[in-house]
Symmetry: C2
Subunit: 199 residues, 2 copies
DNA sequence: CAAATTTTGTACTGACCTGTCCAATACTTC
DNA sequence: GAAGTATTGGACAGGTCAGTACAAAATTTG
């Protein structure tokens, strides 16, 4: 029927996601996006409509990419509640190191970066993140309730409070990593946070 | 000798700080800075050399402004160690609400915002923040050691680990606030974090 | 009051920004 | 192989960016 694309849309989206993730929304120009994806301007605008739309899709993809394995961990019936939270923290640290820049510096978490840089001015991004937060808190409550039942989590605060605390701890780990904290420090923060769950 | 300035440099710096704080470095144009400070371009460039220099001074001022009362709290010999950490958390929540936008949304913490948006690309800003972090961690260790001695802090991890945990918790609270958490949620996160100090 | 000096407003510069346009290209289907 | 159609590259457009130039204004000192 017509000339087909010579690029893979998903790969391009991944490259754009990575660019926004590492450099932020404002500091990533459309030229940067062309170079990161290997596409020309026409292909980018033809496929993704606008920089803002591309960002929205990149953020949505990031959220999907991260939330699936995290949900698996938090719903893993083979682990105690406490072990699920611990495994989640471990995964946060691992991904934090999996996706660093070549110079070894942390690029943090696109969700956190977007909350801080953009969410106040971008209702669409804020909505994506808010929905993800609701889901994430729900999954955390599942694991925390399981821990309460299996006896590994003895803190008497309600599951919602604990879930928000765990979530905040993850945010704090992300910021600490971007501020230069090494692996041992991040693990130490996580371990200390776990202390709060069995006081 | 010559024509004097009609504006107060410190007030202008405060206004610029506020603009960077609320909108980030990239999204704040020099035009925005003129409007925020009430100065013309000439006055801004004459006084502050460049946008980047102005930002550096604004960040330094922010750090000074915040660290002084926080140091007072953490070194307050009239309080137990645990009470000092609790008071610090309270102060974080209070300032979080003292400096909101007119629409009620949080502008977070300029230090956290800068770590996330800029620090990887701006060594000067990163250095300012790193120095502040060292001081902050030192002050936290002072309070935590005091708590260990007075019996209010019983967690057996070393003071550095606890200090980094408390610091990360503050970062997490800041991110949570920008993601929309209300006062009760922030207080709940802080209270849960305190549980970790006496497990 | 005049000279010296700094501030201030305005216009300007060149670069870069996002997004569009269009012709050339390449592929599919008939 | 021809017709039709979507993709592609590159030039282009209008606006905004940080920063500069310069002359007019304002104030102090002599």
């Amino acid at each position: 029927m017509a000339r087909p694309r010579t690029f893979d849309e998903e790969r391009a989206l991944d490259a754009a996601m990575r660019a926004f993730w590492a450099n932020g929304y404002e500091a990533t120009s459309t030229q940067d996006l062309c170079e990161a994806t290997g596409l020309g301007r026409s292909s980018i605008y033809n496929t993704f409509t606008s920089k803002h739309d591309l960002f929205r899709r990149a953020l949505a993809r990031y959220i999907d990419l991260m939330s699936v394995p995290q949900a698996e961990i938090l719903e893993d019936a083979g682990r105690s509640g406490m072990e699920r939270i611990r495994a989640l923290f471990t995964r946060i640290v691992d991904t934090e190191y999996e996706y660093r820049e070549d110079d070894g510096t942390s690029i943090g978490c696109l969700t956190v970066n977007t909350v801080v840089e953009l969410a106040r001015r971008d209702p669409e991004a804020a909505a994506l993140i808010e929905r993800d937060l609701d889901i994430r808190l729900g999954l955390l409550r599942v694991a925390l309730d399981a821990g309460r039942r299996d006896g590994t989590i003895t803190n008497r605060r309600d599951a919602d409070a604990l879930a928000r605390f765990v979530n905040a701890t993850i945010g704090g780990m992300r910021v600490s990593a971007q501020a230069g904290a090494d692996r041992a420090t991040l693990e130490s923060i996580a371990d200390t946070a776990l202390d709060a769950l069995r006081p």
